[in-house]
Subunit: 422 residues, 2 copies
């Protein structure tokens, strides 16, 4: 993508009400635009990141056998009164149609998925299975804050699983737990798996996933050597204790919650009377699990973890592009043409190989181009200028490193391919 | 995908309130589930079709230079009072937050995109450009009907373009018009481009796209030889006239509207005071165009056009799979094992080559398997049974044809690859 053709622009200053790094950097970089508190438009570069995060999550859900579906946001009131959550969930957006019908706007989808699967489940032979979606969710938050970490409208992957026995549910739950850790790691996040207190949903098994960052809201007692962690509010271990999972010594850490999983038991099967006929011919209640990852929140958490004073440092797996190509302008037209030609050649070559390149071909100062490259946070910056061309080279600088080097023009393409695929 | 693992099931009878072929067939085949009138869940096979349609539309919008973004459904009331559409659009869903704020639920996004791009447009150098999204939309219809053709919640691609001059807008408008025809053709639809009367939006240039089908609601006077058409309600030509674009003789046809495009002029630029500084230093209003395709409606239109008494006949480009592999069960266990082995071998081989295969490996009767294959409408059915194995062959039947033939087992894989890629 040529920056000269991108309609968004970077901005030097952050909005005054952007308190957190993710809000500041995502808005300054033109990744998102705040429509109102807690509600954002995903602009081209931001949407590219969000899509990559969602694709990683999708692949991991497919890997555990989840089937993707797409459920409605408009949900009939009757479903929510059936579960006693029409009044019980305080963040539920409610609206009324012209015809007088009351709808909830989905903040979660147990109320839709349970009557949906009821149409297809008859016998134990139809179980177990899991269905998931990646969709927009709505929460009527009293205070929306922390950028894309806590929105009134946000993106989420929610999966629901259905089982005949507790063994089957527990086995799948553990498989998903592992798949979540893989998905976070692929997104460049180190997470602790924290046993949750149960909360309003259930007294059954429940875990939350905490991405470690000093900017985190939650305080953990966690192991530096493995993924064990406890929320300090309900911790049974203390700093200095030996980790119950390995030999590590527990320490205090801060985290951002990036997902949670619940054993729902028969809560929703009871409400909707979701039964199956077991092998022995008796009717039994279906057991359910649910598994959520806020995908837009995940983008925010990645920024919270991966940034410095100059901007974002995207992990390769979710970066809006792999290469940020900078061509510096020159007052000498002949030199300028040569710089542009070399840059265009490299841009075309890499793009043809399927490598995503942002080319800063704008009529802008070197200072602005370098500052924007740091702000946008693409993993590799390749710079071509009058100075580098005198050496028959391009300047190579990785965003996560402070060092730069010259690479011969004839080697650049191959080196970039190695960098991207390594 | 193995049908035995798919949680949805086909159903022999259509819901009593499903009036149109698309509603009947999509529900019977388990492509969608009706949550309530005008609101559907997209189930695995239906979501696969919807995704393919949306990807075709995305590719054609990218080809004309559109940049993809993702805008919110929650929209502040102030934006809608600015354009006088808070009261003016009767299908606008409205809701109120806990904090007392009024929101609209997006049925269109001029009210979001105009103030959004205002943050980035300063000079004529920033223009022209176009941004689009593929997102869920909401309309508070008094009567939702016709399956996924007219929903209260539906999927849509909406693009908005921004220009300094009418020439620039007209040139882009015509480019999009052509891209639309390409997108419909790629989805297997033959469309007429109908000059619209302007409607409530604008008295400027406007066109709608009509997919021809006898089940269509709209009556057209159209040319059988080119894409010219007029809506009969406002037609200036009549049946038997010579086509103004070619030598064809105009005839009456029926169609389903699958998209429309509008020259918005300065309607929204006036409302939001969206200006740019022109080359001569003067401030001018930005000219806008908007371009919509209802992508879920498009899936419905494809079904309306491509079906017979036994089910859907998906065009290859949007089919939920390319091959429907049927293995018939046998009472002889040895033969059964042989049939399963051959089918599994073919399934694995094709899947590894990236070909999407539905394998009906269920414990079901031949009659049910063949009926379901016709209902689901995958372009090619390959059947393996005791009978075909005796010939060392598989039965080959294309959904759009009434004939079947035997193909030697050693040739099947290669023939399928040819069929899929032809």
């Amino acid at each position: 993508m040529r920056l000269s053709r991108l309609f968004t622009k970077t901005s030097k200053s952050a909005p005054s009400d952007a308190e957190t790094p993710n809000a500041k950097l995502l808005i300054q970089g033109g990744f998102v635009d705040q429509e109102m508190a807690g509600v954002y438009t995903w602009l081209p570069l931001g949407l590219s990141v969000l899509r990559k995060v969602e694709q990683i999550v999708r692949e991991e859900m497919n890997a555990v056998g989840g089937m993707e579906i797409f459920m409605p946001s408009l949900q009939p009131k009757e479903y929510w009164t059936t579960t006693k959550r029409w009044e019980g969930v305080d963040v539920l957006f409610k609206l009324k149609s012209q015809t007088g019908k009351d709808y909830a706007l989905g903040c979660t989808h147990e109320e839709v998925v349970t009557p949906l699967v009821q149409k297809f489940i008859k016998s134990y032979k139809d179980l177990p299975f899991a269905a998931y979606q990646i969709n927009t969710k709505f929460r009527d938050e009293l205070r929306a804050k922390s950028g894309v970490l806590r929105g009134r409208e946000f993106r989420m992957k929610d999966m629901y699983s259905f089982h005949t026995t507790q063994e089957s549910l527990t086995a799948f739950y553990e498989k998903v737990l592992e798949a979540y850790v893989v998905a976070y790691n692929r997104c460049g996040l180190n997470v602790k798996v924290v046993q949750a207190s149960g909360g309003v949903f259930t007294q059954n098994m429940s875990h939350e996933f905490q991405a470690l960052t000093d900017a985190g809201e939650d305080v953990l007692i966690a192991c530096p050597n493995c993924d064990f962690g406890q929320n300090s509010e309900v911790a049974t271990y203390k700093v200095g204790d030996t980790c119950p999972k390995c030999d590590g010594t527990l320490a205090q850490m801060k985290g951002v919650e990036v997902g949670n999983i619940f054993d729902l038991g028969t809560k929703y099967s009871d409400a909707f009377d979701l039964n199956f006929t077991d092998e022995d011919g008796t009717q039994k209640k279906v057991l359910m699990g649910c598994y959520g990852i806020g995908t837009s929140r995940l983008v925010g958490a990645i920024v919270e973890v991966h940034n410095d004073e100059r901007g974002i440092i995207w992990p390769k797996s979710v970066a809006p592009a792999q290469v940020h190509l900078v061509s510096l302008n020159s007052k000498n037209q002949e030199v300028q043409d040569q710089v542009t030609e070399e840059a265009e050649d490299l841009y075309d070559n890499l793009t043809k190989q399927g490598i995503e390149v942002i080319w800063d071909d704008r009529d802008a100062s070197p200072g602005q181009k370098l500052a924007d490259a740091d702000l946008l946070g693409v993993p590799l910056r390749v710079l071509i200028s009058e100075k580098t061309l005198k050496e028959g080279a391009a300047e190579w600088k990785e965003r996560a490193s402070s060092e730069s080097k010259l690479v011969k023009l004839e080697d650049v393409r191959e080196d970039v391919v190695s960098f991207v695929t390594e």
